[in-house]
C-alpha cells in the first residue's frame, strides 16, 4: 500500500504501532468507525475516498523535502527562488504542497533555524509526512520557544554561541522547512546522493544534515 513516489527509501523510518491500537476497540476507535460509516451512508464521502487519502499520506515522507534541499544545495538560483517562495519552488519540481504557504529558511554559518508549533502541531506534512510524536508533545512545544539551545542539546545538536538561534513558531497559515547546511566533502555529489544526507530532523532543525 505504501508506494514511495520518490523512489528513495533511505529516509523512511519504521516504528512499531502502539500496541493497543488496531486490535482493541477503544471508545474513540469505535467513534472513528461510526463517524466514517455515517458519512459514507449519507453520501458525504465514499470508502474509496478514505482509502485513497490514506494511501496518499502513506506515500509522503521526508524524501520529498530532501529532494528540495538537495536541489537547493546544487542550484543557487533554485535556492533563491525557494527562499523567496517555497510553495512555487516545490511545485516547480513536481511536489504538491496543498493550499498552505511554504516558507523555506536556510541555515548558515551565523543562523540556525528550528521549527515548532506551540498552539497545535502545524507541520510541513506534504513534504515530510506525518509528524513524529515528540513534535506534537507538550514538552517540545513548551520548551522550544523558551530554551531552544537546551532542547537542541537533548537532540544531540549543540549550536555554537556565535550562531543565532531562530525559532519559527508555526502559528497560522505558513508552514516551514529548514534547509540544513551542506556537509563538507560532498563537492561532486549528485542530487540523489546529497538527498540521502538530508534527514527529516535536519529539515525540522533539531539536527544537522548527516556528515559524510
Amino acid at each position: 500500500m505504501s508506494h514511495d513516489q520518490d523512489h528513495d527509501h533511505a529516509h523512511v523510518h519504521r516504528f512499531p504501532p502502539r500496541p493497543d491500537q488496531d486490535d482493541t476497540l477503544t471508545y474513540y476507535r469505535a467513534m472513528e468507525t461510526a463517524v466514517r460509516e455515517l458519512l459514507i451512508d449519507k453520501g458525504v464521502i465514499t470508502a474509496d475516498d478514505v482509502r485513497r487519502q490514506v494511501e496518499d499520506m502513506d506515500g509522503r515522507n521526508a524524501g520529498r523535502g530532501a529532494k528540495m534541499v538537495a536541489r537547493a544545495w546544487l542550484d543557487l538560483a533554485y535556492k533563491q527562488r525557494m527562499l523567496a517562495n517555497g510553495s512555487k519552488a516545490a511545485e516547480e519540481i513536481g511536489l504538491d504542497v496543498g493550499p498552505l504557504k511554504l516558507v523555506v529558511v536556510e541555515n548558515t554559518s551565523s543562523v540556525h533555524n528550528v521549527i515548532v508549533c506551540t498552539l497545535c502541531s502545524c507541520y510541513p506534512r506534504m513534504l515530510l509526512g506525518l509528524p513524529p510524536d515528540w513534535y506534537k508533545s507538550r514538552n517540545y512545544r513548551s520548551r522550544m520557544v523558551r530554551e531552544p539551545r537546551a532542547v537542541l542539546a537533548e537532540f544531540g545538536t549543540v549550536i555554537p554561541p556565535d550562531v543565532a538561534i531562530r525559532v519559527h513558531d508555526s502559528t497560522a497559515d505558513m508552514r516551514y522547512l529548514v534547509v540544513p547546511k551542506r556537509p563538507t566533502g560532498t563537492e561532486n555529489w549528485s542530487e540523489a546522493e546529497l538527498a540521502r544526507l538530508v534527514t527529516r530532523d535536519s529539515m525540522i532543525g533539531v539536527a544537522l544534515a548527516n556528515e559524510v
Binding site: 523510518h13 519504521r14 516504528f15 512499531p16 504501532p17 502502539r18 491500537q21 488496531d22 476497540l25 477503544t26 474513540y28 476507535r29 469505535a30 467513534m31 472513528e32 468507525t33 461510526a34 463517524v35 466514517r36 460509516e37 455515517l38 458519512l39 449519507k42 458525504v44 464521502i45 475516498d49 478514505v50 487519502q53 490514506v54 499520506m57 502513506d58 493550499p99 515548532v116 506551540t118 498552539l119 497545535c120 502541531s121 506525518l130 513524529p132 510524536d133 515528540w134 506534537k136 508533545s137 507538550r138 514538552n139 517540545y140 512545544r141 513548551s142 520548551r143 520557544v145 523558551r146 532542547v151 537533548e154 537532540f155 513558531d169
Partner: protein, 98 residues
C-alpha cells in the same frame, strides 16, 4: 503552551495505526475546498475545549476524532442520536466478530 515549564523531550515515535490514519483522512476529506464541512480552526477550538486533564489523557488522534465528531454535530451533518446508535452497532458487530 509556549514557554510553560515542561520536562525533557522524549524522542518517541510510532508508526500510525490504520484507524489513526483514517481519522487523519477524514479531516483532510471534510476540510477540502469542495466539501468545506469543517475547518481546521473549528477542530482546534473543539480540541482546546477539552480542558487540560482530558487533553493529557487522550492520544493525539483520539482528540482529533473527538473534535471532528463535535464539529459535525455542531454543523448538523450528523446527529447525536445517529452517532449513539452507530457506535452501539459497531461495538455489537465487533463483539460478534471476536
Amino acid at each position: 503552551m509556549g514557554g510553560l515549564p515542561a520536562g525533557a523531550v522524549e524522542p518517541s515515535e510510532h508508526d500510525y495505526a490504520l484507524w489513526e490514519k483514517r481519522v487523519d483522512a477524514l479531516m483532510m476529506l471534510l476540510s477540502r475546498k469542495d466539501r468545506r464541512l469543517l475547518t481546521v480552526d473549528e477542530l482546534r477550538r473543539n480540541i482546546e475545549s477539552l480542558g487540560p486533564e482530558a487533553y493529557d489523557e487522550m492520544t493525539y488522534y483520539e482528540r482529533w476524532i473527538y473534535a471532528i465528531t463535535q464539529t459535525l454535530i455542531q454543523r448538523g451533518v450528523i446527529t447525536v442520536d445517529e452517532l449513539g446508535r452507530k457506535i452501539e452497532a459497531v461495538k455489537t458487530r465487533e463483539a460478534q466478530r471476536a
